[in-house]
Symmetry: C2
Subunit: 282 residues, 2 copies
């Protein structure tokens, strides 16, 4: 039995499956969990692979440790999406953080990950973590709490993740970020046409709002093209100029992908990616 | 019709094909050329994709412009393999180079690429280029000519590329490199098991012979995992410490992937890759 993801209508990525562990239509989306020979367990939402045991560490280390190595004092963090728990797990490794609010629209994702991918959800047991099962768009609109760091750990902008790619959403994120706050968003990919267009949309939104709007990249082999991007939007701190190796708390955290050279290198985008994003070639 | 490459026995990468342009058993290997919807034309050797029109520029820019931005005076270059012409094409952009010797075991690869991928083979018309259709292992063993730069643009170490992964081959390359010479080899990938083992073998060989042996990486979406490596072996010049932005001749060459930040960032390996290569984590 094979799981096949259509990276494009004409490019397919197929994974041999040992067992189809769960197939469920939640109120928001089709959710499936599988066990595979080469990637271990993985889950999909509406047929798109979200995370697998072999390489989820790459995505989650890069989305969390990058901003945590820049901002000198992160105390309150908001995670939008991220129901698999990977981002929260990485955040709980920092003793300096006081609260982590996770806003996930689909409670079933959290509950199923707790059953089938428990190594990803261990952070949910941390007393600093609060789970809110509601629409991220509404949460940021109504929130009176302010944050040092917002992580937009969303699916693609189709289905329930769609609202998280709107201008209104980012405007509200900007409002509830402290004056030196940072926002990171999953930023799609430059290579195939569909993700390229989503990448351009995502970048336009944060570029219009934030004084600092950069993009960084990681090698994530099981996402379409393996070249995946994150947006770094910031009110004050610059992602490479304000990077001080000696001050970074991540030094004490054992990582499998992230390190300080990787941090700096991840912001070095190839020319064709810069051109797609409208960034001048130096 | 689909072309499927088995990235592992349990992970398949499939490309929808418009037309199967050529299928030929050469004296050395099975060679196929296709036209596809999303990648343009591409060719395979023994069922492995070598190059396609959409992203061959990434591999060829990174294998050539990286050493060319370090070595201050490259005059004589040897390319082993590389029958598709991509590496030679990038080299011919440097007016400072005096001779480019290409040693390709399989003349049929060159001739078929000249027919089906002519934009890759334009460098072969340059008067500085000499084509030798012979075994690279024997060429370096018998060569009396010395080189400033050797590019090992080989297939995987199965079939005709096998000899290019031996200790004897690298020993002879070392011998015919000038005292400040650089050797670059295609270095496989850290992610899937087979390529990981080949990567470790390749690194061990250059590490034993060269005072400077580094590894750098590029996002090549159509190679297994999309995370592809190159070896940088050098007698004198260091790939990042001896990098001077103002001196690099590549500044005058229009590139779609390579730039100077990408150069430096490409040597920033993730922790898990360093561990596989036996490089200390800082």
């Amino acid at each position: 039995m094979w799981f096949t993801e259509k990276w494009t209508p004409n490019i397919h990525f197929s994974v041999k499956v040992k067992e189809h562990l769960l197939s469920e239509k939640t109120p928001f989306q089709q959710m499936d969990f599988y066990d595979s020979f080469d990637l271990g367990r993985f889950f999909t939402l509406d047929g798109i692979m979200m995370a697998n045991q072999k390489d989820e560490f790459i995505y989650h280390e890069m989305i969390i440790h990058t901003p945590m190595s820049i901002h000198p004092k992160v105390e309150h963090v908001l995670v939008i999406g991220g129901g698999d728990g990977g981002s929260v797990r990485e955040l709980t490794k920092y003793s300096s953080i006081k609260s982590i609010d996770l806003v996930e629209i689909d409670e079933r994702v959290v509950r199923a990950c707790q059953v089938y991918l428990p190594q990803m959800t261990i952070g949910f047991n941390d007393p600093r973590v609060n789970l809110y099962f509601e629409d991220g768009l509404l949460y940021v609109k109504n929130s009176k709490k302010h944050y040092d760091l917002i992580i937009v750990d969303s699916t693609d902008p189709i289905g329930p993740g769609e609202g998280l790619f709107t201008h209104e959403f980012y405007q509200n994120c900007f409002r509830i970020l402290n004056d030196d706050g940072i926002l990171i968003n999953q930023h799609e990919s430059p290579y195939f046409e569909k993700e390229k267009l989503e990448m351009q949309r995502a970048h336009q939104k944060i570029k219009d709002l934030f004084p600092i709007a950069s993009v960084y990249q990681a090698f994530i082999p099981t996402y379409p093209s393996g070249h995946w991007l994150f947006g770094f939007a910031s009110k004050k701190w610059h992602p490479t100029k304000d990077f001080k190796r000696t001050l970074c708390s991540v030094l004490d955290i054992k990582t499998k992908y992230y390190n300080h050279d990787v941090h700096l290198g991840s912001f070095a985008l190839p020319n064709y990616v810069k051109q797609e994003l409208g960034i001048n070639l130096k």
